[in-house]
């Protein structure tokens, strides 16, 4: 009788295990890549809006900082892909003569981008 040799069950299972690991790792990498690309795209848009708002905020007189809106005053059309989103401007006095202005954008419940500016009362107008 001719001996017909093949793979044992252990060999086959081990090979399948390695193949499964390779496939799952590749898929996980692919999914992670998508997630990070999305995160990068969102942050790039958010930081453009933050930078624009900071250009306005840093021109507001030190004494008028508390009077600015709680919302962004600049155009936020660029944030449209992040909808629904919310913008906020928070002014706090760090110590006498120093205020912190925190600009923030929140989107999709758990995503947030922030930019903080420190304003110092120099006595001048329209300074940084």
């Amino acid at each position: 009788m001719r001996s017909q040799r093949g793979f044992s069950l252990i060999e086959l299972l081990f090979a399948l295990l390695i193949l499964t690991l390779v496939i799952l790792t590749t898929l996980a990498m692919f999914a992670e890549r998508n997630r990070r690309l999305q995160q990068a795209s969102e942050l790039i848009l958010a930081y453009q809006a933050l930078a624009n708002e900071s250009e306005v905020v840093r021109r507001v007189g030190y004494g008028q900082l508390e009077l600015i809106d709680d919302d962004f005053s600049t155009d936020t059309t660029i944030l449209r892909p992040l909808a629904p989103f919310a913008t906020a401007v928070d002014v706090t006095v760090v110590r006498p003569g120093v205020k912190s202005v925190t600009l923030s954008i929140k989107w999709r419940a758990d995503k947030e981008a922030k930019l903080s500016l420190f304003r110092v009362d120099t006595g001048g107008t329209n300074l940084w």
Binding site: A31, I44, L45
Partner: protein, 183 residues
């Protein structure tokens, strides 16, 4: 005596099981590809990660930050170039595709900078010192549509707003630059 040869193959269960695994793999791959395509559709192209765009934005930001004088944006600038056939005069006018700035340099002298976005996908920055061309820089592979606007901030009426849209008309770049205080 009849010898029956046994012809071995895969059972239906084996075939179905293998196909199910293969199908699952294909489905996952397709789902990921679809997700990627949807992301590409949903978000504008990340031009801000493009080296040429980054260089353009940095240069323009510096030019505007260093804008100098009571009227840093001249309405017209006349460029005179000497060629073997004689002088060539080109007139640049402030528009949504052209930005002319008088900008102070590290040397303390001023230069007139002309930003030209009239060619789709291309931006040209020409710097003139006392009327002579001292720098001619071109960036390529840019968003097809760049627009220069002014942005009014109280007491600062001369901020520049640079807007770019991608091929699908989605807003990809929206940046406000403003001169620094000189007081």
């Amino acid at each position: 005596m009849v010898k029956v040869r046994r012809e071995r193959g895969y059972t239906l269960i084996e075939v179905i099981f293998s196909l199910a695994i293969f199908g699952f793999f294909l489905f996952t791959l397709t789902a990921l590809m679809t997700e990627m395509r949807l992301l590409e559709r949903h978000y504008p192209i990340d031009y801000m990660r493009h080296p040429q765009v980054i260089a353009l934005m940095s240069r323009m930001r510096k030019d505007v930050v260093d804008a100098f004088g009571s009227s840093p944006y001249p309405a017209v600038f006349v460029e005179r170039t000497m060629t073997p056939d004689g002088p060539v005069v080109t007139e640049h006018r402030q528009s949504s595709k052209t930005l002319i700035i008088t900008s102070v340099q590290t040397t303390g002298f001023t230069q007139t900078i002309v930003w030209d976005f009239s060619t789709p996908g291309e931006a040209r920055r020409k710097a003139f010192s006392v009327g002579s061309l001292v720098s001619n820089w071109v960036a390529r592979g840019l968003p097809a549509e760049f627009t220069i606007n002014t942005f009014e901030i109280e007491d600062r009426p001369y901020s520049v707003r640079l807007i770019a849209k991608d091929r699908r008309g989605r807003l990809a770049i929206d940046q406000i630059f403003q001169p620094r205080s000189h007081e």
